[in-house]
Point group: C2
Chain length 229, copies 2
């Protein structure tokens, strides 16, 4: 996140060279990447299409060192993602940082940026697994309760896998970092306004037959508070 008066950039000017190679690292760093990705509902996928960047929101899934994307076989954006590198970003905004000066206003957040070249999955089992991971990410517990993709649907769907090797995580947490003079001057409130995402009561489909109860995997989420996606 760009800070209002920051002298640090949101990400390094030589971004790709500064990215962590996560496969070569373990422990906390990798756990942090997984946590950011697993808490997300959507990512912002950046591709270059006809020489111009295009950033689109899309759902995704993850299993181990692989992130999965999918879309229509007719999607120009996904096609572009297979012929050039992509940048894929998941951001959770967790609070608004109120400072004593305008230029120190900021956001508390966690974000993961992945770079790489997605590859198309062609193996039927791998494709089905990827689609399950994507549905699991959006709606945990739902996959087993619903009809699986059929032949016609699978034929119309492009499934991509993106290696998580080249990735970085950035976070900002805590209160404002004000200038000493501004703190000394006093009189201005400073602090953090925390934010989170909540689910409200599920709304049954208009065409839902009577007697079908809301399943536990849906109800469970209503009491959850999840990180912002």
């Amino acid at each position: 996140m760009s800070e209002t008066a920051s002298t640090r950039t949101p990400l390094s000017p030589t971004l790709r060279s500064s990215l962590t190679r996560y496969k070569e690292r373990g422990g906390a760093d990798r756990a942090e990447l997984d946590a950011v990705l697993d808490a997300g509902l959507i990512c912002h996928l950046g591709v270059v299409l006809h020489g111009t960047p295009v950033v689109i929101p899309t759902i995704y899934g993850r299993d181990g060192d692989t992130l999965y994307l999918h879309g229509s076989t007719g999607s120009g954006n996904l096609r572009a993602a297979m012929t050039g590198d992509v940048s894929l970003t998941v951001t959770h905004v967790e609070g608004i940082v109120y400072a004593r000066s305008a230029m120190h206003f900021s956001m508390n957040y966690r974000s993961a940026v992945i770079h790489g070249r997605p590859v198309e999955l062609t193996d039927p089992d791998e494709r089905m697994h990827a689609l399950q991971m994507i549905v699991d990410q959006a709606a945990p517990g739902a996959w087993d309760a619903v009809r699986s993709p059929n032949k016609k649907e699978l034929a119309a769907t492009l499934v991509l896998a993106l290696d998580l090797t080249e990735a970085s995580v950035k976070t900002r947490a805590g209160g404002p970092r004000d200038e000493a003079d501004d703190i000394a001057a006093g009189g201005v409130w400073a602090g953090v306004l925390p934010m989170r995402q909540v689910f409200d009561a599920p709304i049954p489909a208009d065409d839902l037959a009577p007697g079908i109860e809301t399943p536990a995997h849906v109800l469970r989420r209503c009491s959850d508070t999840v990180a912002l996606a």
Copy 2:
């Protein structure tokens, strides 16, 4: 948002040609764009840096037909945004769509995608106004309560303006769009799990002097429910 089994793409394969020229349109379309932008806290900015797309989360502001960005004068990403086109996306996820089949799972959302070439603002008044718009977007009502940017801070800050002429808004709302066969088969719950973003009680800074009360412009937000950013 990519839909699980959708035959439509998240955005048109020939994206730029399909974008709406908002300045040439009025009324509902333009109001919809403004509503999506004004409800957001961050955008995802896509630039091309060294031939590769880079997508970063950053805060922004808007006034009329102009969107404002800022960052360090040392930011390679912002510099890249001035020498090539950008794609800037604001997305609000508003619900998870539970369908009767895996491939019809989706998200309800509103998103705005802007394309263009940001220009650097050099006029002092324009720069100050842009910074105010950015702080106003993140923290409405805060600008007048805090110290204004000083000469040193301004010298270290790059302020960019992006015209909103070339933009598109996409939304998905309502329940699942299941296959007739799956609806007829029955037995599977379907519906929407609505989501929203909430603010929790403000946390004063550790170094806040005693006796400084939380201002009304902060307290006001705690009772707000805002769209997801």
